[in-house]
């Protein structure tokens, strides 16, 4: 049997739940919508919060909260064949229970941990590198194109920090975003990508001040481009206003 889900984390957990219920020996694959082949026996599993919660609660009670954290973050890393590898991880966790987290020497567990690390690292890096622009009307807008799907896990940080602002963090690669209206943050689809954004009057001026600050703060005698690139990979540069235009990339 091939289980098909909608691509969300809860959808995936619902598929795992059904697969488990039907007996794992019958599970050939779990895959995302549209990726399945035509010939296998397919079953579409809609995302179901109750099923997902059963699995997460079980993991948390038996193996500790960290196990759930690693599972979620590893899922967000969007690695190839994540579905079956994560299924293996979940099985392993329920088998070993409390001592599961110490089993670092097992390759499957280790790989999942590495994926989770990848997501966690990118999240942390982007918490610093994300840049908001003030739009006409005062809303803050932050476009990004992260490698892992980190926008949903970045949002709580900014809810705490910019609690009295209205803002959007936009993942342009996945066409999703988080919108915050001063009360709660919601995950939204953003199907159409605007090429130009309408920024407020003082936006350009503050951006210019910041770019000037960025240029002066560097000590010319200590210039070290490889070191900078190591910390701030070029893939993020298009969204970082102080390096975007290339005036510092010489």
């Amino acid at each position: 049997m091939i289980y098909v889900y909608d691509g969300s984390f809860f959808g995936y957990l619902s598929a795992v739940f059904d697969a488990w219920h039907d007996g794992l020996q019958h599970t050939e694959d779990i895959c995302c919508d549209g990726a399945g082949d035509l010939f296998g026996r397919q079953q579409y599993v809609p995302a179901d919060g109750v099923k997902a919660k059963r699995i997460l609660d079980g993991l948390q009670a038996q193996c500790g909260g960290k196990t759930c954290h690693f599972l979620y973050y590893a899922f967000l890393a969007e690695q190839p064949q994540r579905e079956m590898k994560l299924l293996q991880y979940i099985r392993q966790a329920f088998r070993l229970k409390g001592e599961f987290l110490h089993h670092l020497s097992e390759p499957a567990v280790w790989e999942v941990r590495q994926w989770a690390r990848k997501t966690g690292n990118e999240r942390h890096k982007l918490l610093g590198l994300a840049r908001f622009q003030e739009l006409k009307g005062g809303m803050l807008y932050c476009p990004l194109a992260p490698t892992c799907c980190v926008v949903p896990v970045m949002a709580p940080h900014f809810v705490k920090r910019l609690g009295s602002e209205e803002w959007v963090i936009h993942d342009r690669r996945r066409r999703i975003g988080v919108y915050y209206d001063r009360r709660e943050a919601v995950l939204v689809d953003i199907p159409k990508v605007l090429q130009r954004v309408d920024v407020s009057e003082q936006e350009e001026e503050f951006a210019a001040l910041w770019k000037q600050y960025y240029r002066t703060i560097a000590i010319a005698d200590r210039r070290n481009d490889p070191l900078r690139r190591q910390f701030m990979p070029k893939k993020y540069w298009p969204y970082i206003i102080e390096v975007r235009d290339g005036e510092n990339s010489r």
């Binding site: 020497s105 610093g128 803050l140 920090r161 503050f206 910041w210 703060i217 000590i219 481009d225 490889p226």
Partner: protein, 418 residues
């Protein structure tokens, strides 16, 4: 806001502040308030990296570069002809909040030249901090300088609003101070430092009585030392740092390779800043803070300066062949930390992983241990994987590895002046 005037002031005052190396935003859990902006991230967040590869997490500027002092090494000294500027507390507060909203920065790092008198300067710093906290309802990170020679009461007042304070020692010995910064003395540097320390200690006491006791410099205090402007040995510097950590309970000591921005009769004629020496000092500083080393272990009377070719931990290991190799499945956490190629993270992972399995050599690689360094100092299930345990042989192999690696010593200078 007058943008062109602001642009100019910002350029002058950030240019004058760039030689201060500290820019961390860690150590504070300050929470946001209703209707306010900002909070502290305990681990700190870097927001950008400048062209020299240094992380920028705070808006680091001087309030003013007017200064009544005449320290030989400083670009802002009174006798140096340079453009001067000053920002008002309101201007600084607005700039900070607007930058913060756009997520450019984690907060403010405000330093200043000594304007008219240390007390007057500190009063202006207090006004800035107060404006930010009370008018702008800003709860992000604020780091401010303690100006040497300030009245302790003012230091106390400032401490109520900021997350971190630092009083820069700059020159690691009294002789150096006398020569290069004649208006500063050891006493007027240590006085504000001690005041901050006792403020922090009192706050800790009060917190025991009530969780709501007002904050006082929650992220602790730091200082900075300039390396290479005076003839002090690395050992003198490292022992000073150790004393500062133990006796004044500093959070961090920063080291700044002396950049010859100024010339003067008492200053050394350097062509390039001693970056590698600075790097070794930072490595040794980490050994003091996280690896349970003492300064006397790292540098001895016989060798008071760092070996520039090899890092201090490897040097220590090579001086102590009687201890190595250690068995990875049995060695204590303390001992694992002393193995070159094993850091805090991998030592913890080893301790966690060996609870469930007897570790093999292959597993070690996966746990993040740098085997090309560690293999000469460990055994795994009783087996030694280095070719030889003779210190001179290991030394040459480690040097080869360092040459081949990305962090070869000359790499640090690559791109300088090019």
């Amino acid at each position: 806001m007058k943008w062109d005037v602001m642009q100019k002031k910002l350029t002058i005052l950030s240019d004058a502040a760039k030689y201060d190396v500290s820019c961390s935003s860690s150590g504070s859990r300050r929470e946001n308030k209703a209707g306010g902006i900002g909070n502290g991230a305990y681990g700190g967040i870097c927001h950008t990296w400048s062209a020299d590869g240094r992380c920028v997490s705070l808006l680091k500027i001087l309030m003013t570069n007017y200064c009544i002092y005449d320290c030989a090494y400083c670009v802002n000294r009174r006798s140096h002809e340079t453009e001067r500027a000053m920002l008002s507390p309101e201007e600084i507060a607005e700039l900070t909040v607007e930058f913060y909203r756009r997520n450019y920065i984690e907060g403010l790092f405000l330093s200043s030249g000594v304007y008219r008198s240390p007390d007057e300067t500190t009063e202006l710093l207090i006004r800035t901090a107060k404006t930010l906290r009370e008018e702008k309802n800003f709860n992000g990170y604020i780091h401010m300088k303690g100006i040497p020679g300030t009245d302790p009461r003012l230091i106390r007042e400032l401490g109520k609003y900021v997350d971190r304070m630092s009083v820069n020692i700059e020159l690691p010995s009294s002789a150096g101070l006398k020569l290069l910064a004649p208006q500063k003395t050891k006493e007027n540097i240590l006085l504000p430092m001690r005041e901050i320390r006792s403020g922090i200690a009192e706050r800790k006491e009060n917190r025991k009585a009530s969780r709501k006791a007002p904050a006082f410099v929650p992220a602790g205090q730091t200082t900075q030392l300039i390396i290479g402007a005076t003839p002090d040995s690395d050992r003198t510097i490292l022992r000073l740092s150790e004393a500062l950590y133990k006796q004044v309970e500093l959070k961090r000591v920063y080291y700044s390779a002396y950049v010859p921005a100024m010339t003067g009769p008492n200053l050394p004629a350097l062509t390039q800043p001693p970056l590698l020496r600075e790097h070794r000092l930072y490595q040794a500083d980490w050994l003091l803070r996280y690896y349970q080393f003492s300064a006397d272990e790292i540098l001895t009377d016989a060798e008071p300066d760092f070996d520039l070719h090899l890092d201090p931990k490897a040097c220590w290991a090579l001086r102590h062949p009687e201890i190595f190799p250690v068995e990875i499945n049995k060695a204590s956490y303390h001992m694992l930390l002393r193995v070159p190629g094993i850091g805090v993270t991998s030592a913890r992972r080893i301790c966690a992983a060996r609870r469930s399995a007897w570790l093999s050599y292959d597993t070690l690689r996966r746990l993040g241990i740098v085997l090309k360094r560690a293999k000469y100092f460990i055994t795994c299930r009783g087996r030694f994987y280095g070719e030889s345990d003779r210190p001179d042989y290991i030394r040459s192999r480690l040097l080869d590895a360092e040459q081949a690696g990305r962090y070869e010593p000359m790499d640090l200078f690559a791109g300088v002046n090019s």
